[in-house]
Amino acid sequence: MLEIAGLTVSYGGAPAVRDVSITVGKGEIVGLIGPNGAGKSTTLHAVMGLVAAAGGEIRLAGESLPRRTPEAVTRSGISLVPEGRRIFADLTVEENLRLGLSGRRSREGGAQDIESVYALFPVVGEFRRRRAGVLSGGQQQQLAIARALVAGPDVLLLDEPSLGLAPKIVDVVFETLAEIRTRGITVLLVEQRAQRTVAFADRTYLMANGEIRLTMTPADASDTDTMVAAYLS
């Protein structure tokens, strides 16, 4: 479904992502872990057109995404749940979701999709008329995921959705991802929680210094920490 082929991104001449290739099959959940500064977020940003790629290609369902602006990528069926959630604090919860509709390929069905995310995230529905800024961190994260889902994406990119959340709330986030998996949405998940991600995803890549170093499967979950430590040392 999503193919990142030979992606290279440089910041001011210094390569941040070097020749990274990741393939995510339809309905798969693929994890991307690694230390800070490894290039995980940059990879997602390059897919979204938020940063310019120096080389490589992004293909969605076999078709190359040509000139990539963030709005064009979203409208082609890829949505990002950004790091730090990036919800609009001064807008209501419902307005945040209506903004998510801007990325839809078809105008029809938007209202139903908003109702369906209220069903998936009851707390989001409960606070729909409130300012999004008054929500707790976990609630804001649910809103950010809901906002990406109402665009009706084929591929969902998540950038550290569990960052800064209490363990209980992290459970909620992973339960949500499991629910999203049942809907057949393809997921590329960037996470700091290595072991949990390896156990959850169909396949997890370890990234360091802008390169993919290692591929892990759920069978490696119990050994995640030692494997990661070995490859990073």
């Binding site: 963030p70 709005e71 990036r86 609009f88 001064d90 807008l91 903004l99 801007s102 906002r147 665009a151």
Partner: protein, 308 residues
């Protein structure tokens, strides 16, 4: 003046207040026009005054036309010029730093003034009279206070424009997208908000407001020169920063306040002492900025320091 040479305050009467409200309303319109574009593009458009100047020249050169047609031409020219500025300069520079963009708008401002001078000087005289709009300058006496028609027009235009803008931003989907783009442009685009669509909307609205201001200022000062509205723009830019440039309503209040204050100080100073006006107003400005650097009407800290 008394024996010490200190200006004596003249009595502030209803006339002064009415004129000050008119000036405040006009500056508020300019503040909205500047604030709208700043909100989306993080661009302080110093050339905003030259949009108004272009509108004023249009009114002058179409003085022989019926008033309505002349005003329509003014709106058409100013909106077209505003869009041309966006497409030819702001869009290619969109990724550049605010400093580069600000300096560029300085350059545009001076280019447009020079072009205006070249067009104006063809009759060997600098300045063109805009006679068709002077009918709006007729005063109506209400309870002993002369209220010029243009003051009523200025206040109604300001209230109407602000009301319409509030409805557009608050009640429509394009308005929602514009508010989101003003709060966090990158995230808005990432959600699928088309950058060019919201920017074009802001630029067109900003141009329309400049055209409205051109009509109002031309009625008050019917002699149009290349530096028309330049002084007003600088004052409004100051007012916008004093109010708080980060939000449209604080910027608007700032514009109104500096216009109203100028009007009141001008009225309070005796006629022979109006040279003191800029020093009084700008001393007040410095005082306000020392006490509330983020903006007079901004609660808490503002991120404006990072942005400009």
């Amino acid at each position: 003046m008394n024996a010490l040479g200190v200006p004596v305050l003249a009595a502030i009467n209803a006339q002064v207040v009415v004129d000050a409200i008119g000036l405040g309303a006009t500056y508020a319109l300019m503040a909205v026009g500047i604030g709208l574009v700043f909100g989306i593009l993080r661009l302080v458009n110093f050339a905003y005054g030259q949009l108004i100047m272009a509108g004023a020249y249009t009114l002058a050169y179409t003085s022989s036309w019926p008033l309505g047609a002349s005003i329509a031409a003014c709106f058409a020219v100013v909106i077209a010029l505003s869009l041309a500025m966006e497409v030819s300069v702001f869009r290619p520079l969109r990724e550049q730093s605010p400093t580069v963009m600000l300096v560029t708008t300085f350059a545009i401002s001076f280019v447009l003034q020079s072009v205006a001078l070249l067009i104006d000087i063809r009759d060997d005289q600098i300045g063109e009279p805009a006679s068709s709009v002077t009918s709006l300058n007729v005063p109506i006496t209400i309870d002993g206070v002369d209220v010029r028609k243009v003051t009523i027009v200025a206040v109604l235009a300001a209230v109407g424009a602000l009301g319409a803008l509030a409805l557009l931003l608050g009640r429509t989907e394009i308005g929602l997208r514009t508010r989101a783009a003003a709060a966090d442009f990158r995230t808005a685009r990432m959600l699928g908000v088309r950058a060019n669509q919201v920017i074009t909307l802001a630029v067109v609205l900003s141009g329309a407001l400049a055209a409205a201001v051109a009509v109002i200022l031309t009625v008050q000062t019917p002699f149009v020169t290349p530096d028309f509205a330049l002084h007003d723009t600088i004052i409004v830019l100051v007012g916008v920063v004093v109010g708080g440039i980060d939000r449209l309503w604080t910027a608007t209040l700032g514009g109104f306040l500096i216009g109203f204050t100028s009007g009141m100080v001008n009225g309070a100073l005796p006629t022979d002492s109006t040279v003191y006006l800029p020093s009084v107003v700008f001393t007040l400005v410095i005082g306000v900025l020392l006490l509330r650097p983020a903006g007079l009407f901004v609660r808490g800290r503002s991120s404006v320091v990072d942005r400009v």
